[in-house]
C-alpha cells in the first residue's frame, strides 16, 4: 500500500472584542480584549485509494477558556469502501447543522462569530467532536439531487468546564431544584468551578443537495449524557444569622433530542442561510426525588453577498431562548433570551489572508457569564475585528 499525498496545512487568527455594558464569552470585553485567538496545524495522508487519515492539533485563547493549551482537535482514520458507505474511527467532528464541523476555521466564513443561537460558543465542546466511530456515505438520486448521510456514536470531552462558561448552566439547573425547597428565605447560590464529564453521544445527520442548483437542506439529531459536578455554596439568610453551607452536587443530564434543521441557498455571489435548533433534556440529582425537564432553542437567518473579489458583506438575525420553567420568579425576563443583530464586512486581502469587522446589537443576557457579569444589562452592543491566515 502506497503512502501518498501527505499534506500539511494550518491557520492562525487573532481577534479583538469590545462590548458595552456586559462582558462576553468569559472575556473582560467591556475594557476590550485581545484574548481571542486560535491556531491549528493539520496533517492528512492517503494510504492507497480507499484509506486516509489525519490529525489536527488546535490551540486557542478565549477569555478564561483555552489559554493556549494544545488539544487534539480531530484525528481519525477513514476507510471509504464505496461512495455510499465509508467508516471513520477516532476523534471526529460532530455533524451538527451545516457549519459545526468547520466552526473553528475563520477562513470559511465572513463573520467573526457564527450565530450564537445555533452555535453557542460556550457550549462548543459537547457538540464539537466525539471520540468513537461513524459511518457515512453519498447517494446520487438520479435527477433528484444527492444525499449525504452520517451516523455516529462515542463519547465526548469538555476541556474547560472550569473556565466560566458552565457556571450559568450549573446555577440555572440548581435553581431549578432549590426554589421548591423549604428554605426560610430564598438562598443565594454560588457555583464553584463545575467539572463536566461527557458520558456518551450518538446521532445522525442528513444533507440533501436538491435538484435546484445551490439549494441544500438538512437535519441533524443527537443524544448525549453528561455528569456535572460542583461544590455549591449556599447562603441561607435567617432572622438571626446567615447559614453558609458548601454542598457537593452531582447532576446527571440526559440530552434527549438535540435537533438542528438547516437550509442554505447559493446563487452566484449571494448566500442565504437559515437554521433552527431545539434541545430537550432531563436533569436528575440523586438527592431529589423529581427530575427536571427543559426545552431550549434558537434560530437565525443570514444573508451574505460577495461584492467584489476582496469584499464580502454579511448580516444575520439570531434569536436564542431559554426555558423559564422552574426558575426563580425574581429573575429578570431578559435572562431568558439573546437576540443578536449583526452586520459584518470581510476583506480578503490575499487568498490566504482575511480581515473581518463586525458590529452587533444585542437584546437580552441569556448565555452571559455570571462570574464576569455580577450585574447584567438588557441592551448592549459588541464590536469585533479578527484577522486570519491559513496555509
Amino acid at each position: 500500500m502506497e503512502l501518498s499525498q501527505v499534506q500539511v496545512h494550518g491557520f492562525i487568527s487573532q481577534g479583538y472584542m469590545k462590548t458595552t455594558d456586559n462582558n462576553f464569552l468569559t472575556m473582560m470585553t467591556k475594557d476590550g480584549s485581545f484574548e481571542f485567538n486560535e491556531a491549528a496545524v493539520n496533517f492528512s495522508f492517503k494510504l492507497g485509494a480507499k484509506l486516509k487519515g489525519g490529525v489536527q492539533l488546535f490551540s486557542k485563547d478565549l477569555g478564561r477558556e483555552g489559554n493556549h493549551n494544545i488539544i487534539l482537535d480531530w484525528g481519525y482514520g477513514d476507510y471509504r469502501w464505496k461512495d455510499w458507505l465509508g467508516f471513520r474511527l477516532g476523534r471526529i467532528k460532530t455533524p451538527r447543522g451545516f457549519y459545526n464541523e468547520t466552526r473553528d476555521i475563520d477562513a470559511l466564513r465572513s463573520t467573526v462569530l457564527l450565530p450564537q443561537s445555533v452555535y453557542d460558543e460556550g457550549m462548543k465542546d459537547p457538540a464539537f467532536a466525539y471520540q468513537g466511530a461513524g459511518i457515512y456515505g453519498f447517494l446520487p438520486l438520479n435527477g433528484g439531487g444527492d444525499l449525504e448521510y452520517e451516523f455516529f456514536g462515542g463519547t465526548f470531552n469538555v476541556y474547560d468546564s472550569r473556565s466560566g462558561f458552565w457556571d450559568n448552566n450549573f446555577k440555572f439547573l440548581i435553581d431549578g431544584f432549590t426554589r421548591e425547597m423549604p428554605f426560610p428565605a430564598p438562598p443565594v447560590i454560588t457555583v464553584r468551578e463545575p467539572f463536566i464529564r461527557g458520558n456518551y453521544i450518538y446521532g445522525s445527520a442528513l444533507k440533501w443537495n436538491t435538484p435546484l442548483e445551490g439549494l441544500r437542506v438538512g437535519g441533524s439529531i443527537l443524544y448525549a449524557g453528561l455528569d456535572m459536578q460542583s461544590d455549591v455554596e449556599v447562603l441561607i439568610p435567617t432572622e438571626l444569622i446567615t447559614i453558609i453551607q458548601l454542598v457537593p452536587i452531582n447532576l446527571e443530564v440526559e440530552v434527549q433530542d438535540h435537533i438542528v434543521y438547516s437550509a442554505e441557498y447559493k446563487y452566484e455571489n449571494l448566500t442565504l442561510a437559515w437554521e433552527k435548533h431545539t434541545n430537550k433534556y432531563i436533569v436528575r440529582e440523586p438527592s431529589f426525588q423529581t427530575n427536571r425537564d427543559y426545552e431550549t432553542g434558537g434560530w437565525y437567518a443570514q444573508l451574505t453577498y460577495q461584492l467584489t473579489d476582496w469584499l464580502t458583506v454579511s448580516s444575520y438575525y439570531s434569536d436564542s431562548r431559554d426555558e423559564k420553567k422552574y426558575q426563580p420568579p425574581e429573575k429578570p425576563d431578559h435572562d431568558y433570551w439573546l437576540i443578536d443583530e449583526c452586520l459584518a464586512l470581510a476583506f480578503n486581502l490575499t487568498p490566504n489572508w482575511l480581515v473581518k469587522l463586525e458590529g452587533h446589537y444585542m437584546d437580552g443576557t441569556y448565555t452571559l457569564g455570571i462570574r464576569e457579569n455580577p450585574e447584567m444589562v438588557q441592551y448592549w452592543s459588541m464590536f469585533a475585528v479578527k484577522t486570519s491566515f491559513h496555509f
Partner: protein, 150 residues
C-alpha cells in the same frame, strides 16, 4: 412612415452585427474535459463531473479510483467552475478547505499549465481533468476528450 422603416432597418443591421461578433465566441469551447483512456466513459453528464470534482464520487463504474485534477487560475478554470461545478473558483477553494481542515478529503491536485495537466492525465489511470479549449491531443495516445451533456 419611411423614416420609421429606416430606423428598423438600422436596428436590424446593428443586431446582426452584434450576433456576428458573439457567434464565434459561442462556438468556441472555453475548456475541454479529458480523461485517461483507462476510463471507459466517452460521454458524461455535468452533474456527474460536478460530484467527482467535489469529492463525492470517488470511483468509476468499474470500481477503480477516480483521480480528478484541476488547472490553477485561468480562463479555462473559471469557465469550468461556472459551467460544471456551479461555483466560483473562490467558493470551490473554500469548499475544499472545509473538507481538508476537517480531515474529510484531500483536494484534487492542481497544475499551472495545460501541458503539466495533460502529462499527468496521460500517465495516470483513472484520471480526469480539463484543459483550455480547443485543445490539441495530437500525440497524446492515452488521453481522450469527454462529451459533456448538460
Amino acid at each position: 412612415m419611411e423614416e420609421r422603416s429606416m430606423i428598423w432597418q438600422r436596428y436590424v443591421i446593428v443586431l446582426c452585427l452584434c450576433l456576428l461578433a458573439v457567434l464565434p465566441a459561442m462556438g468556441q469551447d472555453e475548456f475541454v474535459v479529458i480523461v485517461n483512456t483507462s476510463v471507459s466513459n466517452s460521454t458524461m453528464n455535468q452533474n456527474t463531473i460536478q460530484t467527482i470534482f467535489l469529492g463525492k464520487k470517488t470511483e468509476w463504474d468499474d470500481g477503480s479510483p477516480i483521480v480528478p485534477v484541476t488547472l490553477e487560475d485561468s480562463d479555462a478554470q473559471r469557465a469550468f467552475m461556472r459551467k460544471i461545478i456551479k461555483k466560483t473558483p473562490r467558493s470551490f477553494s473554500t469548499y475544499w478547505i472545509s473538507r481538508l481542515y476537517t480531515g474529510k478529503a484531500i483536494p484534487p491536485r492542481s497544475f499551472q499549465t495545460d501541458k503539466d495537466l495533460l502529462d499527468f492525465v496521460e500517465s495516470n489511470d483513472g484520471s480526469i481533468g480539463f484543459v483550455t479549449g480547443p485543445a490539441s491531443l495530437e500525440g497524446r495516445d492515452h488521453i481522450k476528450k469527454i462529451n459533456v451533456v448538460y
